[in-house]
Amino acid sequence: MKRTLLALAASAAVLITAGAASAQEKTKACFIYVGPIGDFGWSYQHHQGALEMQEALGGEEKVELAYLESVPEGADAERALERFARSGCDIIFTTSFGYMDATNSVAGRFPDVKFEHATGFKREHPNVSTYNSKFHEGRYVQGVIAGHMSEAGVAGYIASFPIPEVVMGINAFVLGAQSVNPDFAVKVVWANTWFDPGKEADAAKVLIDQGVDIITQHTDSTAPMQVAAERGIKAFGQASDMIKFGPETQLTSIIDDWGHYYTERVKAVMDGTWEQVDVWEGMAEEHVVMAPYTNMPDDVKAQAEAIEAKIKSGEFDPFTGPINKQDGTQWLADGEVAEEGELLGLNFYVEGVDDTLPQ
């Protein structure tokens, strides 16, 4: 009963259509978000990307924007998608991993509508594309900075769920930090939630009490940044620029910038050139953008900029051998670069991570 009520409330209350659908030449772009657009994290950044796309392609005159917030992953998502497809959407972006099966199932029934699914890997119909970002490139840069900035040589990592994307981030961070300080240690705390400001703050306090002097997070709220600011240590932001919450605390932040991609894809629909793609882009394509390097000495900033430039130019990949697995067995030989497919299913730590990966 509660679930039905929630779903009804969600679908009735939050369907917002910008501008009336009048002209035929308008392109209708639709977005499905897993959280509220006010989360200042994942869904917020997707929505910013959508707005940027609308602006770039000529505003409300040209692009009609529609979105649904807080759509539960699962059966409800399929209903929401189907309604979008019937309501004249030309292209539908489904912005969470859990919409994967619903996206493919609805796409099969609406071959004329284009579907774009974020962070997934299934493309069962020619009208389904997938897109993702290489957040781990940013994590490596953060690791390098942490290696330089941490006096204790220990950073705290607030993690959400043991899925490949998060594991990849921890590995990249540790590799980056240990490229500077081979003895660098990371304390990992699994919050087992994407979003619980209170619990994230608790985790940050616990880590600081245990002696870390840099905090990084893979959960979505700004709470850890604020705790770090209160306790006078440094921290990295997540998903959006959190400098306002720690003007003297934030070293940098990994910003998810979906605007370019959304603009490119909706434009392709307008031009009639849309084709199925599987996109996994990183810093080079500016899908992953580093917030300004702040609160660090100039030489550290220079090092961070140098490694960022190397990753951007393709000269360096964070997952380049020699890299051993946590148990000491070899993963990548000297000079060998990890395959994308393997990274997307990554379920083990590299050597040097001081934690047991929950399975």
């Binding site: 304390k187 400001p197 616990v206 245990q210 709470a223 399975q359």
Partner: protein, 324 residues
């Protein structure tokens, strides 16, 4: 600041919102009303407190506004459930849903803005006492308010005539009515008190715990508060114990995760083995420990049915229409 002290302080901050919301709901349920809208009222309190503190620059005004917002919002429940005699469970759930949506709408402009923090107090000398100094004399005001409220509720319910009246309304509204007690009026006041407490709990979340507003930031704490009331079998001191037990287990599991076995290498062998065994427990299980502990205690205390029946307000959740 020593590790033990730091841990205790963190536990106190984590337990305070639960205690505030639960002690309010306890009074509501003692008067025979079941209000499942705690989560919604907390969110309303959190957003109004945050917005008031942000615009006025005064955290105390924020706290007051949060309590008022919670109380006013609970009036909606009161009007529906007490005056119009709607189903209390459904009305409470609706209040939560409305609170989630409405607070999100009100708070849209506050997202991504650092707020005003209600700082900790500091009494010279006293707060410098090792171990307990900061804990007893150097915390944020909400900590003291929550304890004072608990003590106040205890005294009110069991030491005053008005408290006896409120409990009698919760145990048998018909008898109370026959004695000329204004059942509905008393229940309205209890519901508003519960709303104000939930509002305070929300204000603590957005002004002390984390100084920010994010949609749905209570993340289920209202439901935990509701469970705590049953867990405590409607006794104030047990609510206090329950809230701190819950907070302690939450923080302890985070500490267990963050501790590396290597750092404990100098521990004596038996202790080290225990630590090793605890560390091998998956974090998902550790995260669910506070909830598991609540369930286990619930099972234990409800084994004695007679005792449970004695503590439960007999009219809990039953609608009351004076002339029927």
């Amino acid at each position: 600041m020593g590790m033990t002290e730091a841990i205790l302080l963190t536990i106190a901050t984590a337990a305070t919102p639960l205690l505030l919301a639960a002690i309010g709901e306890l009074v509501v349920e003692r008067s025979g009303v079941l209000n499942l809208g705690v989560e919604g009222m907390m969110l309303m309190g959190a957003v109004v407190a945050f917005g008031t503190a942000l615009t006025t620059g005064n955290a105390w005004l924020g706290i007051a506004a949060g309590a008022i917002a919670g109380a006013v919002f609970s009036l909606l429940f009161g009007f529906l459930a007490l005056t119009l005699v709607t189903n209390q469970v459904a009305t409470g759930l609706a209040l939560t849903l409305l609170g989630i949506g409405l607070s999100g709408m009100i708070g849209e402009a506050f997202v991504g803005q650092p707020g005003v923090k209600l700082g900790a107090i500091s009494i010279p000398v006293l707060s410098d006492i090792p171990l307990v100094g900061r804990l007893l004399f150097g915390q944020d005001p909400m900590f003291y308010i929550s304890l004072a409220l608990t003590g106040g509720v205890m005294w009110f319910l069991f030491r005053t005539r008005a408290g006896l009246t409120l409990r009698s309304v919760g145990d048998s509204h018909s008898s109370a009515h026959a004695l000329g007690i204004k059942v509905i009026a008393i229940r309205y006041m209890a519901v508003m008190f519960g709303g104000a407490c939930a509002g305070l709990a929300g204000a603590q979340l957005s002004l002390v715990y984390t100084t920010q507003w994010i949609e749905n930031m209570t993340a289920g704490r209202g439901w935990i508060a509701l469970a705590l009331v049953v867990f405590a079998s409607w006794r104030p001191w047990r609510v206090l114990a329950g809230a701190y037990l819950f907070g302690a287990i939450t923080i302890a599991q985070l500490h267990i995760q963050a501790t590396n076995l290597r750092d404990l290498a100098d521990w004596p062998a038996p202790l080290f083995w225990i630590a090793e065994a605890v560390k091998s427990i998956p974090s998902q299980f550790l995260s669910s420990l506070p909830y598991l502990a609540t369930i286990v205690v619930l099972v234990l205390i409800s084994r004695n049915r007679r005792l449970t029946m004695m503590n439960t307000p007999a009219s809990l959740g039953r609608p009351f229409v004076p002339d029927r």
